[in-house]
Structures are given as C-alpha cells and as structure tokens.
C-alpha cells in the first residue's frame, strides 16, 4: 500500500464511491506489498445497491445481478481499476463454496467463475481502505467455508493430470514434452501446498515465490522449490532423471497436503 496515495479521496473526486458502500478494498500486489512502479492499483468497492456510470465496462458473471462494473483511469502515475460489487453477490459467491457444495462437487472451476475465484482469493489478502468490520466478517465466513479445500483439490487434480501426461510422454520417448508436463505438475503441486496455507492466487504464477515465502510450508523448503522451478539440476543428457525426480516429489508432497 502506498501511504502517499489518497485512495478514498481519488475515488470520491471521480464520483466512484457510492454513499451506500460497505467496504472499499485495495486488492492484488499493492495490498500484498509486492507492487512495483508499473503495478496497477486494483480496488474493489462493495455496496448494498447497484452502482453505474456512463463510462464503466460491464463484466458478466454467474450471479444475481449477473454483472459487475469496472472503471479504469490513470492517476498518480498509475493505472487504477475499480470494480463495483454488490454485497449480495459476495453472499452468493461464499454460498457457492460451502461444505455442502464441496461434498457435491470438488472442482473449484466448476462452482466459481474465474472472476469470482479471484474475488475470494483477494478477500483473504486485501487491505480495507474502508469497512474493516465488513471485511473481518466476510473473512471469517471465507475461513469457515470449503474454499481452501476446493482450490487444493483442484490443484492436486491438475497435478495428477500433468503427472500422467509426463509419464505417457516418457513412455513415448517424447522427452521434451515430458519435461514440460513435469514442470506443470510441479507448479500445480506447489500451488496446492500454498493454497493449503491460505496463500491463493494460482492464476498468477509470477507471484509463486512471494506466496511461497509468505506461506513457509514445512512440506518443501524454498531452496528445494526454487532449485526445481529454475531447473538448476536438469541434465540435458538425461531429461528422464529430472522428470522422475520431479514426479516423485509431487507424489511425496501430495501425501502431506490435507484437502
């Protein structure tokens, strides 16, 4: 968070702050302290009633009402993206990741759209510019939900698919493809570990090292992870050895990650 930026003042000056808002949330890299000079300011505004403007973009979502509105502009040398959500939409997203839903359907991609998942991802790590009480209440509901289990299960399923693919490519003698599949398996497996620790955001792998450091998982050290991520032990003369070691590690880790 940039202390010199008057986020609420900027939104008020641009008439982007509804009077009935429940919360204003700084989300994404700025909220995590991972931003750089090129990073956007991403902000969610949550209100009890619909908001609109003549210049906003409309995003469709499987919610009622079925849209959220975004406004983009440049200020303070940065691009700002402000997305307006309704409180009732947040209720609906949280209801989609209940334990009852988890028992019925364990794949997050089938219960949440991409934008919905990112909203809940960010709910866990955002900063309240306004509405700290609202945020604390919603975070408590998220923590009690099956959201984490949905994501862990999905990442492990995706890892299994990549492991199976890598083994098939090894059998076929397609060593280069096997290496790429093993890399995918590793990424999904590490994401599962991080999600187990409440570090979401698998949609943005560039932040995986930061998420890893924040999670400090006992299942794998950062040094081990980074050695594999950067393939520093890969021997071009024997790709199968590296593939097998990565796939073995993926299986080892899967045994430790609690869904």
């Amino acid at each position: 968070m940039d202390a010199h930026v008057d986020y609420l003042g900027e939104l008020t000056d641009r008439s982007l702050l509804p009077v009935n808002h429940c919360a204003v949330l700084l989300v994404g890299s700025c909220a995590r302290g991972w931003s750089n000079s090129k990073s956007d300011y991403d902000i969610y505004v949550v209100s009890t009633e619909a908001w609109s403007s003549d210049t906003c973009d409309v995003l469709s979502l499987p919610l009622n009402p079925p849209t959220v509105l975004t406004e983009s502009f440049y200020a303070n040398g940065r691009r700002w993206e402000v997305t307006h959500w309704q409180d009732s939409q947040v209720d609906q997203m949280l209801a989609k990741v209940s334990w009852a839903e988890f028992e019925r359907e364990r794949t997050a991609g089938q219960v949440l759209s991409y934008k919905e998942e990112i909203f809940l991802d960010r709910l866990a790590s955002c900063l309240a510019l306004s509405g700290a009480e609202w945020l604390a209440d919603r975070r408590a509901t998220l923590a009690e939900s099956a959201f984490r289990s949905f994501l862990v299960a999905r990442s492990l399923d995706a890892a299994d698919d990549s492991v199976e693919d890598a083994l098939g490519q090894l059998d076929a003698g397609e060593l280069e493809s096997a290496v790429l599949a093993a890399r995918k398996a590793l990424g999904h497996t590490v994401d599962a570990v991080l999600e187990q620790h409440g570090e979401y955001g698998a949609h943005a792998p560039k932040w995986r090292p930061q998420r890893f450091r924040a999670a400090k998982p006992s299942a794998l050290s950062f040094e081990e992870y980074w050695t594999l991520e950067t393939m520093s032990t890969f021997d071009p003369a024997d790709p199968a050895k590296w593939v097998n070691s990565v796939l073995t590690l993926c299986q080892d880790i899967s045994m430790k990650v609690e869904i």
Partner: protein
C-alpha cells in the same frame, strides 16, 4: 496371478508414479485408475515409508517400533500389505538377485 512373487527382506518397494494420493480428513487415500483405497493408520505408515530406498525389513522395523509389536509380526504384516500394494498396482518391487519368483 496375485502375489506371484516372493518378497525378500532386502527387497526394495517403490511407489508407482501413476498412483494418485490424497490426504482427506486425516486419512490417506491411494488410487490407481478409478479404484481408491483408504488406508488404515498402520498401512499408511508402511505406504509412506516406501521411498524407493528402504527395504522391506527396514520398513518392518519401523512398523515394529511405532506400534511396539514383535519384529516377526511386523515383518509378516509388512509383507502381507506390500503384496497387496503390488497386486493393486500401487507399487513395484525391486527384487534382489537372490529372490525367487513363486513357481519358478
């Protein structure tokens, strides 16, 4: 033919990478294709001890120490479960040169 091999104490089991594993509500579930098995606590100890380097005997000793049971009982239990794992395509066995195949 199920169990069509003879385990030696120095046989080394290896988990098959095609085996999928999940830990759910504290229990380990292992699966190959669409057949899943929830492992009992002692079975989990044996399965997780299979790392491609530990011998059957070493795993049995680990089991005996963990549960305070006789070494011979642990060896028998380990051999029985390892045989089950092989039969269910969850692990492979690196047989030592001295081991013989049943009926051979």
């Amino acid at each position: 033919m199920p169990g069509a091999f003879r385990l030696a104490p120095d046989s080394v089991p290896r988990r098959r990478l095609t085996a999928r594993v999940r830990r759910f509500q504290g229990r380990l579930v292992v699966a190959v294709d669409d057949v899943a098995h929830e492992l009992a606590e002692s079975a989990e100890l044996i399965f997780t001890s299979i790392d491609g380097t530990a011998t059957i005997d070493e795993i049995a000793v680990r089991l005996a120490r963990c549960y305070g049971i006789d070494d011979d009982v642990a060896r028998a239990d380990t051999a029985e479960f390892v045989t089950w794992l092989v039969d269910n395509h969850l692990i492979d066995i690196d047989l030592p040169e001295t081991a013989s195949v049943n009926g051979a």
